[in-house]
């Protein structure tokens, strides 16, 4: 198709910046990273924020963080650059603003730099280094110019990574484990059975994610181990490993029973515990589903659309089930995605990659490609192509149960006579 000539294959991807738009006219486009930062800071109790930008960014941030003050004394204030500051920098004004917030009682402040501060090279790191000794509130920052950070995942992972600067407590608790990437209570996301199994064996879990307290982050260094349950939290885990020597295990990108078996075993060894039969039942259920899925899905061609957190690990798993990736929308390309890309290519697949930024035009292109099904979201109200939606909501859950839910959803859509005829059975 001519419409796809401008796209790269997965083998050509080196970073998130090299992924081209499927169609050039953006409408409405993907969320700005500033959105995720605004949402996250509002959900960490005790954390204040100062969003720095132009009237557009500061105004729009109030869609996500509508209240200037939180219930526990948090301040979510805005700093708007004027014409002079766009040319000569806003350092002086920012320093004054931070003193004002400090005097108003902020305990810790995350400074969120948006496009123009990043474009004009505002040195927030240097400014923090210089003024931190004069300010009681702990300071950290994140730069989120969208011209450098195309989509929203960067806003999540960079913001969570920036929280590493607020980890002040230095003692270690050998019975403490951090869970990076979910809250203890998530309204719509099931608690993975692994986590209570860990606490049953005498360990305490501290959850570092939106919904946590500032104190949970301050005590983050006390943990023996970090368990990563979301791609957005892995860069924080990397930072904590590099700066504090805390190891981590990735749970979020394991879909197959074999992969989950391996990481659970590694965790058990690390903690010197045994899972015994804790996960047997759910594991057996997934094994049976995997067998059925391999029969049903083999040879079906798929596309990944919007709202998928882990497109490459998911594609690897679907490839293991025999499915053939045609086109992948990648919202982000994490450093660790290179190994997932290599795994996919080792299976003989090298799909096209893109960013879908125009709901209407992209749907037309996807329809023209005639995949057997697609995953994620497109405004396809007529459902001309079988779709497995809502893959996004697996964020924060891991293990056998997640795979069970995933396979059930796929089979509910695919396991019908018409599609079965298309597969290689």
């Amino acid at each position: 198709m001519n419409e796809l000539k401008h796209l790269k294959h997965l083998s050509e991807a080196k970073s998130a910046n090299g992924i081209n738009f499927l169609n050039p006219a953006v409408s409405p486009g993907t969320h700005c990273p500033m959105r995720m930062a605004s949402v996250i800071v509002e959900e960490i109790k005790g954390l204040s924020s100062l969003l720095v930008g132009m009237p557009e960014c500061t105004t729009h941030s109030r869609l996500f963080s509508p209240n200037p003050e939180g219930t526990q004394g948090e301040l979510h204030w805005l700093y708007v650059l004027d014409a002079h500051e766009v040319v000569f920098g806003c350092r002086e004004g920012l320093v004054e603003a931070l003193h004002t917030m400090d005097n108003a009682g902020a305990k810790a402040i995350l400074i969120i730099g948006t496009c123009v501060p990043e474009l004009i090279g505002e040195d927030l790191e240097g400014m923090i280094y210089e003024i931190q000794p004069q300010i009681k509130a702990q300071l950290t920052f994140v730069m989120l110019g969208q011209f450098k950070n195309v989509s929203y995942p960067t806003g999540s992972w960079k913001t969570l990574r920036a929280m590493g600067a607020l980890m002040s407590e230095k003692t270690t608790d050998p019975k403490r484990i951090n869970v990076l990437g979910r809250s203890p209570v998530e309204e719509h996301i099931e608690m993975p059975s692994l986590l209570p199994a860990i606490t049953d064996r005498g360990f305490s879990l501290s959850y570092l994610a939106p919904g946590a307290n500032l104190d949970d982050f301050a005590n983050g260094r006390k943990a023996l181990l970090n368990l990563v349950v979301s791609p957005y939290a892995q860069p924080l885990a990397e930072r904590m490993k590099a700066e504090f020597g805390i190891p981590y295990l990735e749970l979020h990108n394991r879909y197959s029973v074999a992969d989950i078996d391996a990481i659970y075993e590694e965790l058990a060894k690390y903690l010197s515990v045994s899972w015994q039969n804790t996960f047997n039942e759910e594991r057996q259920e997934v094994l049976a589903l995997e067998t059925r899925a391999k029969q049903v899905l083999n040879g079906l061609r798929f596309i990944l659309a919007l709202r998928i957190d882990l497109p490459l690990p998911l594609s690897v798993y679907l490839g293991q089930l025999g499915m053939n990736p045609m086109l992948l929308h990648l919202e982000e390309y994490y450093p660790e995605d290179k190994k997932h890309a290599a795994a996919l290519m080792a299976m003989g697949y090298d799909p096209l990659i893109c960013r879908m930024v125009n709901d209407e035009f992209d749907l037309e292109t996807v329809e023209a490609l005639s995949p057997d099904c697609y995953f994620g979201y497109l405004p396809d109200w007529e459902r001309k192509i079988p779709c497995i939606p809502d893959v996004f909501d697996f964020y924060g859950t891991v293990g056998y149960r997640r795979t069970h839910h995933l396979l059930m959803r796929i089979l509910a859509v695919i396991d019908n006579d018409e599609l079965l005829e298309k597969g290689d059975r």
Binding site: N17, F21, N23, P24, A25, V26, S27, P28, G29, T30, H31, C32, P33, M34, R35, M54, P55, E56, C57, T58, T59, H60, R62, L63, P66, N67, P68, E69, W77, L78, Y79, V80, L81, D82, A83, V86, G93, E96, A97, T100, C115, V116, L119, I120, G145, Q146, F147, K148, V150, V357, N358, E360, F361
Partner: protein, 410 residues
């Protein structure tokens, strides 16, 4: 601008966007990062702007910035024209192209040559010292300069409304009330509701109108231009209250030479008076015995504040409380401009009387959200047939709000 707790003064770019985004069979392409337009689009949807101008962004990345590349704009234009066939394409810069000095008007000229079947209009007002009201003014003026065709006056009397834009709170309901009134008392149809309910074809026909009704001062330069070009007289006024609306109608009659349908006007007035009648004794009692409870404190657009204040004070005998406007260039002794810290102080010090201002300020201060007369808004407004503030129906609506506010205070 500095430190803010609340939404800052919108930029000229935002004012331009809010002016253009309601025009049907057009496309608007913003050269800049996509988040800008994504959230502008969300705000417009929340304000009830549906099925109007198609909004597109080009996005821009660091390589584009470093190399001064603008190919994304050409690709987007090509894609949009092929899929949507807009009559006019509006080109806007976002903040980044303003910083790096991208020449959007020059690019617009190049695109015009490349796509001769589509009209391109490039909008500036993206400077960092330009605020919303200037953006609205410039956008209305550019539309008035560029789109109207040479047409004769319509055989039957017609009118345009200038300045009904999506940045104003309840802009659609106010425009609907004014159109209803003018149609009823003058049997005069609108040619163009600029810009809240219009198409390119409507804008092209503007010159045929017999009068331009300018409902906010930002529309006056456009009206002056249209007067020079088409000799169309204009009236700049936002009518509030019974007497205020009656005077407005009389002025239209005087300017156009049209006679008012006295029967229709009388019926409008009588219906309004009958609706107001149950409230008037309470208002008179309050004014006489509890004057502090009729202090009218208003914050918002200067023309809105001025109009509601005149209705309350001149027609109902209320007293002026603390009143302010939201534009540094529109303040005067009676209605000064208040910065954020000044209106926060005004809200904190407000004790008795009626307080009407932005949804954002009312929500934050825990005041009666029904008393909103200005944006920033905090709610969705999908239903456009809400009660207006202007005109006879607006007079009843405002009185109703004041009665309820007084009842709640009791």
């Amino acid at each position: 601008m500095g430190l803010h707790r609340f939404k800052p003064l919108p930029s000229g770019r935002m004012g331009t966007l809010w002016t253009l985004a309601t025009i049907r069979n057009t496309a608007l392409i913003e050269f800049g990062c996509m988040g800008h337009l994504l959230y502008s689009g969300v705000s417009l949807k929340r304000a009830g702007v549906i099925d109007a101008c198609k909004l597109f962004s080009t996005h821009i990345d660091e390589t584009d910035i470093a190399l001064g590349r603008t190919e994304r704009l050409n690709q987007t234009v090509d894609n949009v024209i092929r899929h949507h066939h807009p009559a006019v394409v509006f080109l806007l810069p976002s903040a980044i192209p303003q910083v790096i000095g991208t020449d959007i008007p020059a690019l617009g000229k190049e695109l015009q040559a490349e796509f001769p079947g589509v009209r391109f209009l490039s909008f500036g007002e993206g400077g960092f010292d330009v605020i919303k009201h200037q953006g609205v003014t410039a956008a209305l003026l550019l539309l008035a300069k560029e789109l109207p065709l040479e047409v004769a006056k319509t055989a039957e009397p017609t009118f345009n409304i200038i300045g009904s834009c999506a940045d104003m709170f309840r802009f659609q309901a106010d425009a609907d009330e004014l159109v209803r009134l003018v149609k009823r008392v003058f049997k005069m149809d609108p040619l163009c509701i600029m810009t809240s309910d219009t198409t390119v074809a409507d804008l092209e026909k503007m010159g045929g109108a017999h009068i331009n009704l300018v409902i906010r001062r930002e529309g006056e330069p456009a009206a002056i231009h249209l007067k020079k070009r088409f000799a169309t007289p204009y009236l700049t006024e936002r009518p509030y209250g019974v007497d205020g609306t009656t005077r407005w109608i009389e002025k239209i009659a005087a300017i156009t030479g049209l006679s008012v349908n006295a029967t229709e006007l009388k019926e409008e007035q009588q219906v309004t008076q009958r609706c107001l009648a149950p409230a008037l004794p309470t208002f008179r009692h309050l004014v006489r015995s509890h004057p502090e409870e009729t202090r009218l404190s208003l914050g918002g657009h200067a023309d809105v504040v001025k109009g509601i204040l005149a209705y309350g004070c001149e027609e109902l005998g209320f007293y002026q409380g603390t009143c302010w406007c939201d534009c540094p260039q529109m303040g005067n002794d009676r209605i000064p401009y208040f910065s954020e810290s000044e209106w926060i102080t005004a809200l904190e010090q407000h004790q008795k009387g009626f307080l009407m201002t932005t949804g954002e300020a009312l929500k934050w201060s825990g005041r009666n959200a029904e008393m909103q007369i200005a944006n920033p808004d905090t709610q969705w407004r999908l239903y456009r047939q809400e009660p207006p503030f202007v005109g006879f129906r607006g007079a009843i609506h405002l009185a109703n709000l004041w009665m309820n506010a007084n009842t709640e205070e009791d």
